[in-house]
């Protein structure tokens, strides 16, 4: 027990980063469930990873081209950390721009586009990692989501971005919900759905970019999807849906960190499995509630 508390204390920035991301991802993730765009949710973290791998590959190849004799061929950590956001955000915004533009043109193949985005991103990621001779040394750490390496600076950056995104999301939630639920009504009130969709995608893009850099694509997709999915049957009204999703996400992220340190399992997969455990718990609890409410309303036999 003392060891466990010691580990949590030692890696408290990692735990805090997991909890912060565990809270912000479900807040936006509710839209992946409601708008049935889960495939886009899988694709975007991979796009972010491919973007990171791309810029680091280019920097590495440039460095090798101009490498002085005897100098280290490795990119230094500061350079990787400063380049990664450009790759991540650049790739996500490029893809979102293309997808939003295609969405504005209409057509029945939206899901096929997201699926294509996913498979192209994964393939490019593998190719970039193969081309970069030193990828394993530094890019792998970032892409696998070694949460344990999160530093104080990275945590505060992550938190600041999460807070700004959450505030913007709260300020414009009315528009996001209306344009998502009933685009026709939104249009009749003068809202331009393409612009509001783009706004929602930008917020998603920012959160996914920053989160993937710190916690990896596995954690990010897991927390975009699982907490809102577990919370959905309990939600009566949007406020409840947001609150339950965020609370479940933060709780699962904290419990996942504890379980990971306790069992000495890798953090990201353990966090995801912990969040996934809430799915059967949620369903069983719902069944239990339903059974009790039926028993209460059933007529008493003579």
């Amino acid at each position: 027990m003392t060891d466990l508390i010691g580990l949590i204390t030692q890696f408290h920035w990692a735990v805090l980063a997991a909890v912060a991301t565990g809270a912000i991802c479900p807040l936006l993730g509710v839209y992946f469930i409601m708008r049935r765009i889960v495939l886009l949710g899988i694709a975007l973290p991979q796009v972010s990873s491919a973007g990171i791998a791309f810029v680091i590959m280019v920097a590495q190849l440039v460095k090798l081209q101009f490498l002085s004799p005897g100098a280290s061929p490795f990119l230094d950590e500061a350079m990787i950390v400063s380049l990664a956001p450009f790759g991540s955000i650049g790739a996500i915004f490029l893809i979102l721009f293309i997808l939003t533009w295609l969405e504005g043109r209409g057509g029945p193949f939206t899901e096929a586009r997201w699926g294509s985005t996913y498979i192209i991103a994964v393939s490019l990621l593998i190719i970039f990692l193969v081309i970069n001779p030193y990828a394993e040394a530094h890019v792998g750490t970032m892409l696998e989501g070694r949460i344990i390496t999160v530093t104080q600076t990275r945590f505060w950056t992550l938190l600041a971005v999460s807070i700004v995104v959450a505030i913007l999301f709260i300020l414009f939630r009315k528009e996001f919900i209306l344009t998502s639920f009933d685009p026709g009504m939104a249009f009749s009130l003068g809202l331009r759905t393409t612009r509001w969709n783009a706004g929602l995608y930008i917020l998603l893009g920012i959160v996914i970019s920053v989160s993937v850099m710190n916690l990896g694509p596995l954690f990010v997709f897991g927390y975009l999807l699982l907490p809102p999915f577990a919370a959905r049957p309990w939600a009566v009204g949007m406020k409840q849906f947001y609150l339950y999703s965020v609370a479940l996400g933060a709780l699962a992220a904290f419990l996942g960190s504890v379980i990971s340190f306790w069992l000495d399992w890798p953090l990201a997969p353990t966090e995801v499995i912990t969040a996934a455990l809430f799915l059967p718990i949620s369903r069983v609890a719902m069944l239990f509630r339903y059974t009790i409410s039926r028993a209460r309303t059933a007529p008493v036999s003579q």
Binding site: G184, S188, G237, M238
Partner: protein, 257 residues
């Protein structure tokens, strides 16, 4: 291609005017060369068989679809959002049950235009939404999930949402499809009351015009890419329909009547 009276020759004010408008998808027109006026305070039925472009026409009027040709003018302006409020009631099947919205939340959407840049709803907006729910007999279910309501209840909630938006014009897309007879009668009575007592302009799309026939002042027939407008009494007669659409059989007429 046809012909509502203009403001000048009939002395009526137009709420919406379509001038030689063509609308469609992916470069293919569904309705072509439509010219018509929707007069303030009128009740206009957009009728015709399924898949002929009735919804396309109202999507053009709302602004969801941009005209491929021609222009649409709302209250003499090129942008309806600056000139009038539209109370739009879509086909209820288009609204996804994945959203855990309560009936009150759905109706409150109708009040968003009152304070478009405020993220918070004022108590008066909530009261207005509750009042609208009460008017359609759904106040007692305000906290229920919209997705758990029956077809008729959903339609009433959407009606309340349109009421809450205090519209200059109601646009309803197939409001009587898939709902029980009692609810249908209630909705028609409510529409009739709004139209006659409050002089609200109504644009109603339907493929079954029988129960709505007494409501309409004018009718637009949409079929085969054409739209023909005229007085309801004239255009809803079997003789006129057969003549105008040549080949429109009695059995088809009966099916939609």
């Amino acid at each position: 291609m046809t012909m509502g009276g203009s403001e000048n020759n009939r002395g009526l004010t137009n709420v919406v005017r379509l001038e030689a408008v063509s609308l469609g998808y992916g470069g293919k027109p569904v309705v072509e060369d439509v010219t018509l006026d929707v007069h303030r305070g009128s009740c206009l039925g957009i009728l015709g068989p399924n898949g002929m472009g009735k919804t396309t026409l109202i999507w053009g009027i709302i602004g969801i679809l941009k005209p491929m040709k021609g222009k649409i003018i709302w209250n003499r302006k090129a942008d309806h959002s600056r000139s009038m409020r539209i109370g739009y009631i879509p086909q209820k099947e288009r609204l996804d049950p994945a959203f855990p919205l309560t009936n009150l939340e759905v109706v409150q959407m109708g009040t968003f235009a009152e304070r478009p840049w405020s993220p918070w709803l004022r108590p008066v907006q909530r009261r207005s939404a509750l009042k609208a729910l009460e008017r359609v007999g759904m106040r007692h279910l305000s906290g229920m999930l919209f997705s758990e309501c029956s077809g008729g209840q959903r339609q009433r909630v959407l009606f309340a949402r349109a009421l809450a938006s205090k519209p200059d014009i109601f646009i309803l897309d197939e409001p009587t499809t898939g709902i029980d007879l009692t609810t249908r009668r209630q909705l028609i009575n409510l529409l009739s009351e709004l139209h006659k007592d409050h002089n609200i302009t109504i644009l109603l799309v339907s493929q079954h015009f029988g129960p709505l026939r007494d409501l309409f002042d004018e009718v637009i027939w949409v079929q085969g890419g054409r739209a023909v407008m005229g007085p309801a009494a004239q255009l809803l007669s079997e003789e006129y329909i057969a003549r105008a659409f040549g080949g429109f059989k009695n059995s088809e007429f009966e099916a939609i009547n």
